[in-house]
Symmetry: C2
Subunit: 226 residues, 2 copies
DNA sequence: CGACACCATATTGTATACAATGTACAGGTC
DNA sequence: GACCTGTACATTGTATACAATATGGTGTCG
């Protein structure tokens, strides 16, 4: 509904289902560790279990649900440990993708960062967190596209969604979190547009590391160490 | 058959199918861009299309097959571009996992590297590339286990398999490639056992970078730039 | 009273039937 | 002769029926 739709206009049922469930999970309407039965999901969306199974496989791939053979499927638990895992990986991979994006020669695509940044500012000004996150994710995907590294995009796609769960939770508790990253994000976009790969990489790593550290205690209090 | 079996003794059909197909792809019995129809695979292994579909989803997750909606499924093409993608990601993530493994306090598990190293030497002495790769992969999974980072393991699982395709191909062309990494691998194992995370990380990054560079031209000649 | 075994039920796993769609080839038209 | 169109076929996508298994409760035996 939100993330994958940016990538392609696919109309396949499993992908659409997955997108909708993703959004439910990211924005907390499906809570951590809540159980999902195939039949329930199928009934709810008016389809059979076949496409539901495939959708759940996709969510499993992206770490949003956890499956135990013949036992069932649950929304993946959140914990400080999981949060740390996601963020240590993100530091490395987001840094790499920022560098590769900066090294791209696609001037026109790079220019899109300008409008994205103003959209981010608007969303921030209106305190519209949901819109902020949506635009932020579009920025991530633009970076991925520029980097032109399908493998890296595939890996980051999953991490991004897991990370967003934590970020949205943090926002709910303290809305000013979305202000934290705006200035740095702008500087990173500038470095990418300027073709300064090393700088984009370093700033991205720092930004993610900072967000990680600033959120860490709150995550532990909310979900435990894990 | 080879890789996943190390992780668990699962007997689920889709996982087993995926393992067997993985091995076929890694060792080149299923060639790059060869088409796979669900019915074909199902008939070959004597099961219905349902578990085959799930197995193919798993392979898709790990980048070994490429799916186009309603068009079909192919063994993922190999190319220098794809090779570069896999290796730039591996440098970051394998470095990270080596560091986190070194920081583990699980002495007993760490000791397993000793026997692994001697197994590697044996395989090398006998010029048994297949065995060498199998043991090497076990070393990777031991490292992943020590790191105790499920997210990172999930990400690397896929990359590892893609990388192994290229490594086995390179071996077929020039068997001495398996000697390249043995000494460095030993030093990395030592650093992990000694708890020297930064050193393990640096050496791992260097090793993978070296392997990458040394294989790059051969990959291009064999599969094109992509 | 506790523990173990057994059975009922809920849920996932697999097989199969049917639907939708993309591809290739044949035929016709300009 | 080239290009477009329509139809047959191959293949994936979805629905449904059935099988296997894990869970929870109940009853019985020690």
């Amino acid at each position: 509904m939100l993330l994958a739709r940016i990538q392609k206009l696919s109309v396949a049922i499993p992908e659409n289902l997955a997108e909708m469930l993703e959004e439910e999970i990211i924005f907390g309407r499906l809570k951590s560790q809540e159980r999902l039965t195939e039949e329930m999901v199928a009934a709810r969306y008016g389809v059979s279990r076949s496409p539901v199974r495939e959708a759940l496989r996709l969510l499993e791939r992206d770490g949003l649900v956890t499956r135990e053979a013949r036992r069932g499927i649950w929304v993946s638990p959140m914990s400080q440990r999981d949060f740390d895992e996601v963020y240590t990986c993100r530091i490395e991979l987001e840094g790499l993708v920022a560098k590769q994006a900066a090294e791209s020669a696609d001037i026109e695509k790079k220019a899109e960062f300008k409008s994205l940044l103003s959209e981010l500012k608007q969303a921030q000004a209106r305190n519209d967190a949901r819109q902020f996150f949506i635009v932020d994710v579009r920025g991530s995907f633009l970076t991925y596209t520029l980097a032109g590294n399908k493998t890296l995009t595939r890996l980051l796609g999953g991490l991004e969604k897991q990370a967003l769960r934590y970020r949205y939770h943090a926002y709910e508790q303290d809305p000013k979190i979305i202000q934290l990253s705006l200035d740095d994000t702008g500087r990173i976009y500038d470095a990418i547009m300027a073709g300064d790969g090393e700088s984009a990489k370093a700033m991205t790593e720092n930004l993610i590391r900072e967000i990680w550290q600033s959120m860490r205690a709150g995550i532990r209090d909310a979900f435990g160490e894990g």
